[in-house]
Amino acid sequence: MASPLFVRNDMLPPLPPPAGERGVVKWLRENLFSSVLNSVLTLLACLAVLWLASFILPWLAHSVWNASSLAECREKIAASFGPEAAGPCWAVIRLRWNQFLFGLYPQAEYWRPTTAAALMMVSLSPVLYYGLRRPALNITVTMTVLLVLALIGLGTDWGHIVLSVAIMLALMAVAATAPKRLLWLTLLFPFIAFFLIWGGPIWTAVGTLAGFVIFALVWQFVQKPLGVVVGAGVGLVVAAIWWTSLQSSVTGVLAAALPWGLPYVVSDNIGGFLLAFVIGITAISASLPIGVLLALGRRSDMPLIHSLSVGFIEFFRGVPLITVLFAANFLLLYFLPPRTNFDLILRVIIVVIIFASAYIAEVIRGGLAALPRGQYEAADALGLDYWQAQRLIIMPQALKISIPGIVSSFIGLFKDTTLVALVGLMDPLQGVTKIVRSDNAWKGLYWEPYIFVGGIFFLVCFSMSRYSMYLERKLKTDHR
């Protein structure tokens, strides 16, 4: 007799959720059409996007890549799409991309800034991913491949390709065996980049580097008995004596004995994104340490240091960058002895560093202020001195808090490098664009250079922003 009770002995497969509760429909309903108002807004936004696209897409569809002048572009567009059609003339980018990237840098020497760029990425790896073998190796391998492709694309002779690749392979070996050692490349990179980009005898870069080595040695020697600050002061004085009075004679002798070097490239020929990167990267990497010192100075109990830091920060945050650039361009020359040849790019870099430091200092001060008082007291209780406490306890936390602010300052700074056009430097946005437009063949161009330059700026700034997000996730040690 069958039991009135029925017991199912196998599980029913789960049914899919109702059509309205899953997939695209659910997402659309929840995110776009959740209420009457939202539905209306969604429809309006769609219309706006369509309306914009109806202008931009046909325009983009009429792109011309092969032409030697704007007139030819217009003829081609008229021939293919009718006389009323308008379209972008990307041919200008195809023919003049090198000027947007390098300015008037001699074509035969393009391998130098390109190699410098690859080395820069490798030297960034220990900063970005300190001690991690995989990312270091990944970056080095990727950069080697990209470098080879770029060098071949630029039509570099084989000798220089082999030389560049040999350097990269050596770095790859270092990255594979001892990724922390790559930090040495980071320290040396400013001098390598300076030598690669400007050229001249190698001894100029070596001599400048020697000044820093002297500084480091003196500092090591003096800081033990006399303290960090006095050590730095003495080191700076000794290094300054080397740079100002000894270096040129020593490097002169060396250059005469061993004339190693690269052809010299004058600053005026450096332009485009090369210039933007030179100014941007130098300012970014120099303004962070200076900013840290200024932020500490501002919180210092010593009245002199405190007021100097406050004055410096408030002054440079209070004036527009353009003012500072004009001052670098004109004012400095009035104060220097006549016939002083003080490179304009160098002057601009110095003022941009000063300007950026003031902003970074305030961002870091925000981080310092956000730390609970207990952290400072704990550091004191452990018996750490001021610099140890800063290095081991305060700064790691303060910097972590300030990452979004620091990166957004850096992004702003990188974009601000286009302002140097106002003092006659060849920035990619205005300087190079103006030169390209002054060519009879391209007179009348408007959007194409802006779109191209804007696109590259977006790529760079967006990568910086993504990296900062990665860093924030990686350093997230709290349990919120």
């Binding site: 704007l70 003092v423 430097l425 002054s438 007179k443 009348g444």
Partner: protein, 343 residues
């Protein structure tokens, strides 16, 4: 006592400053390179091409000076200067000479302490309008919207012109030539005004140049020329006579191509045109008087060419800019380009 020491120091400093800034020619020779303030990029007047070679009417003046001083027209470093930085760069000694389509005006000559040593292009402000506007004279532009680059003398000239003709206009301020063209082509303004030389170049860059006309009125005088700092007349002379050499060469029919023949002819024939003989250094040493080589004029003509050649190559009727000589013809052909006698 203290006061006299102070005054003495000031006097010494002034003297020293005077000494230090005197002798630009010697400075240039010692440096081995002429620093020439030029435009950051102006079609036909001064701009670098795709491979970084500078060309233009203004550039040729710099090259002529280099040819005179060094015998080599390539020994020039072009320093790109913006409208804001140009005069300060000259005053602070960052450049030796400014040849950047700069208008010679009273206040620049006196207040800014510049010396305009010559006029290498006589320009004037003009108007461009759409053909279908049906306007044939600038005086008919009553109530028009006018695109104008802000912060320039053209802005002031425009206001003066409309005021004196008792007609009204609405200015549309734009930052530079490219933007002005964009606005003009899009119909944001009825007329575009700038220097006539710039108008011709701009018209060539429009998508349908035949739909636009340049009105006949020239509403201002814009003599463009090379400028040097006050207080070094000897250096000013070098610039002036380098330029005049190009004019005299055109007047005498000496070109880049035939200068060698003419030197030969003038050397062989003592009855050859005496001014040509003096100019080319065949007879006497004119260069010594201003501290340059006796063959300075030969070098200028051989390496840069005469004024007419430079004009035709950079802005003349065969270039897309297509400027007629007009006021810039030689005085013998009804223009204003006139060089004093070389004797």
């Amino acid at each position: 006592m203290r006061k006299s020491v102070f005054l003495g120091t000031v006097a010494a400093a002034t003297l020293f400053a005077g000494l230090a800034s005197a002798g630009t020619l010697d400075d240039v020779k010692a440096r081995g390179q002429l620093l020439c303030g030029s435009n950051t990029g102006l079609t036909g007047f001064g701009s670098p091409d795709a491979s970084g070679n500078w060309t233009g009417l203004d550039v040729d003046v710099c090259r002529a000076v280099a040819a005179a001083v060094f015998g080599d027209s390539t020994k020039v470093k072009f320093v790109p200067l913006t409208g804001e930085t140009r005069f300060t760069a000259l005053q602070s000694g960052e450049v030796d000479v400014l040849v950047r389509n700069s208008t010679w005006t009273y206040s620049r000559d006196t207040d800014l302490k510049l010396d305009f040593v010559a006029v290498n292009y006589y320009d004037g402000q003009g108007f461009m309008v759409k053909k279908d506007l049906g306007v044939s004279s600038a005086k008919e532009l009553d109530g028009a919207t006018v695109c104008i680059q802000s912060g320039t003398t053209t802005e002031l000239n425009l206001a003066d012109f409309f005021k004196t003709n008792k007609i009204s206009y609405t200015p549309v301020n734009v930052a530079d030539d490219a933007e002005a063209l964009r606005q003009f082509e899009a119909g944001a303004c009825d007329a575009y005004t700038t220097d006539a030389s710039g108008l011709a170049a701009s018209r060539a860059g429009l998508s349908s140049p035949q739909d636009y006309v340049i009105l006949p009125e020239i509403i201002s005088k814009e003599p463009l020329g090379p400028a040097v700092r006050h207080g070094d007349s000897a250096w000013g002379d070098v610039i002036r006579w380098s330029y005049f050499t190009m004019l005299i060469a055109e007047e005498k029919g000496i070109t880049k191509a035939n200068v060698d023949e003419i030197v030969k002819a003038a050397t062989d024939d003592t009855n050859y045109d005496p001014e040509v003989r003096r100019l080319l250094g065949v007879d006497g040493d004119m260069g010594k008087l201003m501290g340059v080589d006796a063959k300075f004029a030969y070098n200028i003509i051989k390496q840069v060419g005469n004024y007419g050649e430079s004009f035709e190559a950079n802005v003349g009727t065969n270039t897309p800019i297509g400027l007629a000589r007009g006021l810039n013809a030689l005085w013998t052909q009804g223009g204003l380009q006139y060089a004093p006698p070389l004797r």
